[in-house]
């Protein structure tokens, strides 16, 4: 067994007739946060969707802890222990917060201890437990999306821009919860445009351009090198 929980090797993904991912290699180390960075439209979301099997990889191999995922349907990948927070959050708006959470615990019921932890991180979810999720604010919906991923213990978390469009106070709530998750030894692949959050949470980083990973290294190295950021992402992250 390698130290990598997830590896992508030579992955190609087409969406309709467009070649979006081309020869993408990516390793996510076990334990810790790997940041997936890059300009808008380089294929970060597509990479996460390909890992989940929501887009089919045309070529290449995806392995989770030694298990080849490539031929598995999305539901089987989830059952192997991937918690996914999509960019659009994927909240079931007509269902209550409770029903969203019940569905998220596909392996069995909701665990009381885990729920205490989740309520501790996101008190709003307790307050609105029986409300329709569609009535939640944008920030509360994002909390619910992350809480769903945390509803059961997962091998790997895929989280796509959890702070997008949120007010600063809620961004720090979100970052706090992710840091908590990280402290428990979780492996996380995180797409994040907020530099402060990326810098605070990231252990390693992979930078994408045009459908492939063009740089990997320590997050600290990237964070402290404005020239490198400029070269890889076309602008320094401070300005993001």
């Amino acid at each position: 067994m390698s130290d990598d929980i997830l590896t992508l090797k030579g992955v190609y993904t087409d969406i309709a007739q467009y070649h979006i991912l081309a020869d993408l290699d990516l390793n996510v180390p076990r334990g810790g946060v790997t940041m997936l960075l890059g300009r808008n439209g380089v294929g970060k979301t597509t990479t996460l969707r390909t890992i989940m099997g929501l887009w089919a990889a045309k070529k290449g191999q995806i392995t989770l802890d030694g298990t080849d995922l490539t031929a598995l349907p999305t539901s089987d990948r989830a059952r192997l222990g991937i918690g996914y927070v999509p960019e659009d959050m994927g909240i079931f708006t007509d269902l209550t917060v409770a029903e969203n959470m019940i569905l998220a615990a596909a392996g069995g019921g909701l665990d009381a201890k885990r729920m205490e932890w989740i309520f501790g991180a996101f008190p709003a979810l307790r307050t609105f437990w029986t409300s329709e999720a569609g009535n939640l604010s944008g920030g509360q919906k994002q909390m619910l999306a992350i809480a769903r991923a945390m509803a059961e213990e997962r091998q790997l978390y895929l989280i796509d821009e959890p702070t997008k469009g949120l007010a600063p106070a809620i961004v720090s709530t979100m970052a706090g919860a992710l840091r908590d998750l990280k402290k428990q030894g979780a492996s996380i692949l995180l797409v994040e445009q907020n530099f402060a959050v990326a810098k605070a949470l990231g252990d390693t980083a992979a930078v994408m351009d045009d459908g492939r990973v063009i740089w990997t290294g320590e997050m600290a190295e990237l964070a402290n090198d404005a020239d490198l950021q400029e070269r890889l992402m076309g602008l320094s992250m401070e300005t993001l």
């Binding site: 994927g90 079931f92 269902l95 029903e99 009535n135 106070a169 720090s172 970052a175 706090g176």
Partner: protein, 343 residues
């Protein structure tokens, strides 16, 4: 970075107009019934027409409920759904005819058992037929609407021809079991017994569906799947299996609707399901795609409107439901209770 601030969560309280908007479709039924009363004037005629409209609505609901879920879950347009209505009617009527004495005896229990056996046979056959239909006809054309229309219409034609082969080319006339013939008189209004049975059966099916959808995990998965199928899979559920189950149940319900409709009309033809599909599609559209409750309310509105108008202005009867659809879509272009996100 600081600890999570104790921000006070806000949930916009539902305004009165929001609440009213949600309840509005339900209110439409009593409103229509009252309007019918005012327009018709005679209490006995009004009562007869109302029961008749509700009975018709319940039967259309049986036929429409599966279709709306199939559309909502997998975005499948199934023009072949009418075939299950016809097959259900033929199987059910055959069973009733085979039971001869049980249906002609003036005994409620015997008649009821005969009808229930007919329903059982019809739903079993149409459920199995639906399973085959999904595998052979629907599965190869996922995501291709034009192909779905062509292929499911093809399936419809094939099944109608099969009915001709098995049961012959002519319509079959039948008489209802003894106890369900005739009417009871109430407040001077003649209420056909069979229509009362249809209302009771429709209500039972609706309440059961609601319970399953609201109170069980599988119902939760179905409701979530109608909204966002990808996310349901990403949480670890095999949506395909759920969909096949819903398709089978929807076909069986169409078969049930077919038996009831056949007994109601006292004649069955291979094309009866196809003819009903116009009303069924109207109900699915005005109810809101994917919504069982919307289909229920829509079906009752269609049944009541058709009966009231046929009495008040027979010339308008044929277009009354198109008119109803136009009015509702002007009010709510997505239907009364849409579940499926506009694409």
């Amino acid at each position: 970075m600081s600890d999570a601030p104790d921000h006070s969560p806000t949930l916009a309280a539902l305004s009165i107009s929001d609440r009213l908007g949600q309840a509005m479709p339900y209110i439409l039924i009593p409103v229509l019934v009252v309007l019918g009363f005012l327009a018709i004037g005679s209490t006995s005629s009004w009562l007869t027409l109302t029961v008749s409209g509700l009975a018709m609505g319940m039967m259309i609901f049986l036929m429409a409920s599966g279709l709306t879920l199939v559309f909502g879950l997998m975005d499948i347009i199934n023009f072949g759904h009418g075939a299950f209505i016809s097959v259900g009617a033929f199987v059910g009527v055959s069973v009733l005819m085979a039971m001869g004495g049980w249906t002609t005896a003036p005994s409620l229990p015997l008649n009821l058992i005969a009808v229930l056996l007919a329903i059982l046979a019809a739903t079993l056959v149409t459920g199995i037929l639906g399973w085959g239909f999904e595998r052979v006809i629907v599965r190869p054309v996922y995501g291709q609407h034009l192909h779905q229309i062509l292929v499911t219409v093809g399936g419809l034609i094939v099944i109608e021809q099969m009915i001709h082969v098995i049961w012959g080319p002519h319509e079959i006339f039948l008489t209802r079991p003894e106890t369900f013939q005739g009417a009871i008189t109430y407040w001077g209004a003649a209420l056909e017994k069979f229509r009362l049975l249809a209302v009771v059966l429709g209500l039972i099916v609706f309440v059961t569906m609601r319970l399953v959808l609201r109170r069980t995990k599988i119902g939760l998965i179905v409701r979530a799947g109608v909204q966002n199928g990808e996310m349901v899979q990403a949480l670890g559920y095999r949506l395909r299996l759920v969909f096949v189950g819903v398709f089978i149940a929807g076909s069986a319900l169409a078969g049930l609707g077919g038996v009831m409709w056949g007994l109601y009309q006292e004649v069955i033809t291979a094309g009866m399901g196809e003819e009903m599909m116009i009303l069924v599609f109207i109900v699915v559209i005005i109810g809101g795609l994917g919504s069982v409750e919307g289909a229920f309310i829509g079906a009752l509105l269609v049944g009541l409107t058709q009966n009231y108008i046929a009495f008040l202005e027979p010339k308008l009867a044929l277009i009354s439901n198109i008119g109803l659809m136009a009015v509702i879509l002007m009010w709510r272009p997505q239907g009364m209770m849409p579940v499926v996100k506009a694409k």
